[in-house]
């Protein structure tokens, strides 16, 4: 996703002089180097200084530009949180805060580099849009949305690298603010977002192997959430499952609240990170497993082991 974002923003920057990238001492990935070489005035490195990264973006946006603040999610969003809130959200400026490695992608770097609660915190900010694409192609769509949108600030939560393609055969195109059905079924609906969508797809395959028909849905727009779409999914499926690489107050909790509103009669299972820091080191999968987010554990809990 990192490389796809870099390629996409390079293309966008070529066509749109308003696009600027403000990074805080992160090594440029993919075409980011090309962006830096070709548009040096629109590529700024603030160094290890995240508050000015957001402040600069705000000032540039107040002058009609479309800045992207870019570094590891914990540092684009947590470190300068009050600047994101006051400079970007309060003033409703079209700045995209790009969080690389949302969730536990930086799985060997320890808890200081895990963005577990970012989705919940970003969703709580008035005016903020929250996007979390599930694969490189969806990352491209989400990035292009951020370049052209007129709403205000966006928190764009990305993975890191190596996410497999999940959307090339999707039945729905990417549409901002709408649930995206990657495939449609009748019995089970699995909702997810971000790189953990791969786990959701693997779980879907297990249901299908048992002859059940599965809807697999990328909830890439977490705010504004497609509440109507979720209520429809809750009514149309006998079993709804939410899988997310986020603190347990994000999509899962929203879906539970909507289930009450929709008078849903389906079975509803929610799998999130626990409300706890992670002191485990290893692959992202191993860290997720430490919080019960692995195929075997989830399959057992939903009855398809």
């Amino acid at each position: 996703m990192r490389n796809t974002f870099a390629d996409t923003i390079y293309e966008a920057g070529k066509n749109d002089k308003r696009v600027a990238i403000v990074v805080a001492d992160i090594s440029p990935a993919g075409s980011m180097q090309k962006f830096r070489d070709e548009f040096p005035e629109r590529f700024i490195n603030t160094g290890v200084a995240e508050q000015i990264m957001i402040g600069l973006c705000a000032g540039m946006a107040l002058r009609g530009m479309r800045p992207f603040a870019y570094t590891i999610a914990t540092f684009t969003f947590y470190r300068p949180f009050e600047f994101v809130r006051d400079d970007l959200c309060y003033q409703n400026l079209p700045v995209t805060v790009v969080g690389i490695g949302g969730g536990v992608a930086y799985s060997t770097l320890g808890g200081t580099h895990h963005a577990q609660e970012d989705v919940v915190l970003a969703s709580a900010l008035p005016n903020m849009t929250v996007l979390a694409p599930c694969d490189p192609a969806e990352c491209r769509e989400a990035t292009l949305y951020c370049v052209t949108q007129e709403h205000g600030p966006v928190y764009l939560r990305l993975g890191k690298a190596g996410e497999p393609d999940l959307t090339s055969r999707a039945v729905d195109p990417f549409a901002f603010g709408k649930l995206r059905y990657l495939r449609r079924g009748q019995d089970v609906c699995i909702l997810g977002y971000g790189p953990i969508m791969k786990l959701a797809a693997d779980l879907a395959a297990k249901f299908e192997a048992r002859g059940q028909s599965v809807s697999l849905v990328s909830a890439h727009t977490l705010k504004p959430l497609d509440t109507d779409g979720i209520m429809v999914a809750l009514r149309r499926h006998a079993h709804v499952i939410v899988i997310e690489e986020a603190a347990p107050y994000a999509l899962g909790l929203r879906v539970k609240a909507l289930a009450w509103e929709a008078r849903a009669r389906c079975r509803l299972d929610v799998f999130s990170l626990q409300d706890a820091f992670i002191h485990t080191y290893g692959s992202p999968g191993e860290l997720l497993a430490a919080h019960g987010l692995d195929l075997a554990s989830i399959a057992r809990k939903v009855g398809v082991e």
């Binding site: 005035e41 000032g59 530009m65 600047f83």
Partner: protein, 276 residues
């Protein structure tokens, strides 16, 4: 980056006397006015609006350049000047801090004449740097003037902005520090002796810097006119919090409080042109 070449110091003193009177009048409607912090930076803000910022022809005044009140609690100084320029109305100021008005104790982006929301300290210099940088790379001739409190120099974010403004060499940016020595709790010179000397620190960060009496509009204007350019400029203005009303000067309670009727009468009676 030079502003308007001629500047009439005597006219500035007359305007500032009028602003102080107006601010005291408004104080009679609200319990917390932040009058003292407005009084300390009045001459600085007046010099920026009347001596530095370039205007387009027409009424009400429209500026080519940008003003940010990073020390948002001093915004009453800005409001009365915007009122005198016809950008805010008399009614806007009468409805200060009321539900039917649009002005509060901190500047809010979207209100006429307000270019960015401030209030939380340490935000203005970063946004001003971004604005000035954007103007430069877009080939526009905008200049950005930003007023900071000395307390804001305690914020780490101000120093992040100091570094980046110097690295980016945004010479269309000028910052003014209202060095009134008073935080809301106590004197900075007593609680933060290591903060001084300030001028050397700013120069060490790559800024062109000068220091003047912050109540001497002519000196403020001259210092900006004398700048060499090529990098951001900062002017330290030595000021007195609450300047102009003897019993408010450097007394912490007046950071927030509005005078009662008796105090108001006493303040109005003693108001005179501030000469230095």
């Amino acid at each position: 980056m030079r502003g308007i070449m001629t500047f009439d110091g005597a006219a500035s003193r007359r305007r500032c006397l009028g602003y102080r009177r107006r601010i005291l009048d408004i104080s009679q409607h609200v319990p917390a006015l932040h009058a003292a912090g407005a009084f300390s930076c009045l001459e600085i803000v007046d010099t920026i609006y009347h001596g530095l910022m370039r205007r387009q022809v027409g009424t009400p005044a429209r500026f080519v350049d940008t003003f940010l009140m990073s020390k948002g609690h001093g915004c009453m100084a800005q409001y009365v000047i915007l009122e005198s320029l016809g950008i805010l109305t008399r009614r806007d100021l009468e409805l200060y801090c009321t539900p039917s008005g649009q002005l509060g104790c901190h500047p809010d982006y979207g209100v006429p004449g307000i270019e960015a929301s401030t209030g939380s300290l340490g935000h203005g210099l970063g946004m001003a740097t971004g604005m000035a940088y954007a103007d430069r790379i877009k080939g526009e001739d905008g200049r950005v003037y930003v007023v900071l409190s000395d307390g804001e120099l305690q914020e780490g974010s101000t120093w992040e902005a100091m570094q980046m403004a110097a690295n980016l060499k945004v010479d269309n940016l000028a910052a003014f520090v209202d060095l009134n020595d008073m935080a809301s709790l106590s004197r900075m010179s007593e609680t933060h002796p290591a903060f001084y000397p300030v001028l050397d620190k700013l120069r060490a960060f790559g800024w062109e810097a000068a220091e003047v009496n912050g109540h001497d509009a002519g000196a403020i204007h001259d210092a900006v006119m004398r700048r060499q350019g090529g990098r951001p400029f900062v002017l330290l203005g030595r000021t007195v919090k609450g300047r102009g009303v003897s019993f408010m000067e450097s007394v912490p309670i007046w950071h927030y409080r509005s005078p009662n009727k008796e105090e108001y009468a006493k303040a109005i009676a003693e108001l005179a042109e501030v000469t230095s």
